[in-house]
Symmetry: C2
């Protein structure tokens, strides 16, 4: 089973590597990091480089697509090889999924027209402007499309996806294998829980990356 | 502030990238992936390659050390450049931390002699054999040493570390920035919660990597 994770300059590292760590443990799965061209790709916070093993053209029809988010994708929305690839690969995929603002790329490819979907909480208006119906759940499954909220939500999404691809037992085993029994040190992981001044701080800070 | 993440063949991707995503967002932090030699380093499940930007020798005294786990570290415990580097860097570090079986490397370097520490739940006996006192908490802080449980626990650890390095407000902002409001799809993230047959399945499966 081919699972493709397409990456691009300034994608968010954890958006891709959270699902990777889960999906690469599925028996029989082959996970491939793709980019426009094979080679090194820098992450959003610029201090880590991942290697794309293949080009988008090398893997046109993977069974599973996982599109990570990151501020670098805004310049790809209008017209790009990545959006074209998503549009085409979605025609034959078994599952098309995204993490964080990866859903903006799915929407730009027409995958989310009139479809409930989620994204990073700061990007809900952008998602709506691209034709999707922003939902507040952390993981939104509609037909063969699964979208996840910001960054870390890719881990929850990937475990759900494993259950669909295989069985609850395999998903539970992988969850135990990565000891995913989270204990966030603060109650600040969503805008509905975080103190108002923290929400403001992050909203302002995000502008430096945009 | 220099934060070093030393990696090695067959380290676990999420062990390193979870903390990276958190720590690279700390104002003024410079996170560097190090290896014996700079260049590509393959992760535990063999389908992803990260790039080490510098050699261990290039950064002998970072303020913060984050050592990821992974099955590849077993052959480094007896004698290795990495263990020597940890022993020496720990003398001047402000914080010395590990994720998952990264604590085995800390222990091999003498950092955990008679110290409470945690690791992946499957590696507690190995940790004890190296002189540490295995604890069951997800994140264990003793003086300047913080150890985290398996793989995904590095995210919890890194957020705790950010609070120590800066303030609770910055840690909360980063937690909100990565939307870390986890909703694991199953109650199977620790051996005390997972069904007995799942614990057995993972214990058996782990042997293929060892």
């Amino acid at each position: 089973m081919d699972i493709a994770i397409p990456i691009y300059d300034r994608f968010a590292a954890l958006d891709a590597v959270g699902p990777y760590e889960v999906l690469s443990r599925v028996p029989g799965a082959k996970v491939t990091f793709l980019a426009e061209q094979p080679g090194p790709v820098k992450t959003e916070t610029r201090m880590l480089t991942l290697v794309a093993e293949a080009s988008l053209a090398d893997l046109p029809s993977p069974e599973v697509i996982v599109v990570p988010g990151g501020f670098g994708n805004r310049e790809l929305l209008e017209a790009s090889g990545l959006v074209d690839w998503i549009r085409s690969a979605h025609e034959t995929s078994t599952w098309t999924t995204s993490v964080c603002t990866g859903s903006l790329l799915l929407a730009a490819a027409g995958v989310l027209d009139g479809v409930d979907a989620t994204t990073h909480w700061l990007a809900r208006d952008e998602l709506r402007a691209l034709g999707a119906l922003p939902a507040e759940e952390r993981v939104v499954e509609r037909g063969k499309v699964i979208t996840a909220a910001g960054v870390s939500a890719g881990i929850d999404m990937a475990l759900t996806l494993v259950a669909r691809l295989t069985s609850d037992e395999v998903a539970q085993a992988i969850q135990l294998g990565i000891e995913y029994d989270p204990e966030p040190p603060f109650e600040s992981g969503s805008p509905s829980k975080a103190p108002g001044e923290i929400v403001e701080l992050v909203t302002t800070a995000a502008k430096q990356y945009a």
